[in-house]
Amino acid sequence: MDRIDRRGFMECMAWAGTGLVWVATGGVLSSRVIAPAAAAEAKPGSFSFVQISDTHIGFKGQANGDSTATLQQAVDRINALQPAPAFVLHTGDQTHGQKAGAFDTVAEILKSVKTERIFYVPGEHDVFLDGGKEYLGRYGAGTVNGRGWQSFDYQGTHFVGLVNVLKYKGEGMGALGEEQIEWLAKDVGALGSSTPIVVFSHVPLWAVYPQWGWTTEDAERALGHLRRFGSVTVLNGHIHQVLQKVEGTVTFHTAMSTAFPQPAPGSAPAPGPMKIPEAEARRMIGVTDVRYVPGQHPLAVVDSTLG
């Protein structure tokens, strides 16, 4: 009953600056500013992981003359977290236009991350030149049929990494494709509805701004297989800014880039790197720390900037 009210639809524009914890209760989103110590408090059975995105190694522009240095800064930020994250998710666009050697640079820098494992999904910048050959050569092992998508379980939470940049369609939207959606249906089919689900992919799985291609055309079909779960957290990149939306039990969240910010949807004639001074841009790039606490269904998502 009262489904519309309980859905608690909300959309929040980017906020710059300090960390915020987002907590969704009964589908309604609320937030509070946190002191760093509050993020560190650990309860038994809880764990945290980090999302980094859009490292764009090879990018050089007004907003950032050295995207390698800002990735290193992001790594330093991750390594300062207490407790250390269980693992890290990289949600794509490791490279800027598949520049030669960029994948090697990312791998080299991420070697020093203090965590057990890093999971990857590709961005369009990682695959557009060769249809994903180099990316899958490096990161395809252990994924479904070597195609880049995958799932794993961690302390009772089910994680799903999806690929939505290998079937770029006419208007620049992301797409998952029939085969991947069928796999997803089977992958989550046997799970109990109380299993917390985390889905991560590069292009947002919700219509952030289709005019700029910031959407995935067949995402709704994939999400249809997830609506029965009590807690679904969707983590994306691609748009280089924090945006959040809650739809029923599904929370959508996009991460900042570690390289450069993009304009808010529709606020500029086109997307692309913002041309702003580096000091200003530092306050618009960063990392995302996600915390799961047993008994508190929604995951707490904390975004922190590098500047």
Partner: protein, 102 residues
């Protein structure tokens, strides 16, 4: 200004068959300018990217294609046969344009 010069050269070439000609297409704010370019056979078209974002020149039928072009990078293609050559940016497929070779 570059664009005007390019068109001028093309017009000259059209009246002097056999002379090499050239034309330019700019990429700015996620748009190809001009979106439709008509040139005589033998013309070399040069694209220049004025965006900080990477773009590509990717032929719709696979006839030609660039790698990722960063800021101020260029790509040149000589058109030796008449035809309609549609192309787009592989990273931003809504960016579409055409070269018409007569």
């Amino acid at each position: 200004m570059k664009l005007v010069a390019g068109v001028f050269v093309v017009l000259l070439a059209a009246t002097h068959v056999g002379a090499a000609s050239s034309a330019a297409v700019g990429i700015e704010k996620f748009k190809f300018t001009p979106p439709a370019l008509t040139v005589p056979v033998g013309t070399t078209v040069t694209w220049i990217n004025h965006d900080e974002e990477t773009h590509t020149i990717t032929s719709a039928n696979g006839a030609f294609g660039s790698t990722g072009l960063g800021l101020d990078d260029t790509f040149a293609q000589t058109f030796t046969r008449p035809g309609r050559y549609e192309y787009f940016c592989a990273l931003h497929p809504h960016m579409k344009a055409i070269v018409i070779v007569k």
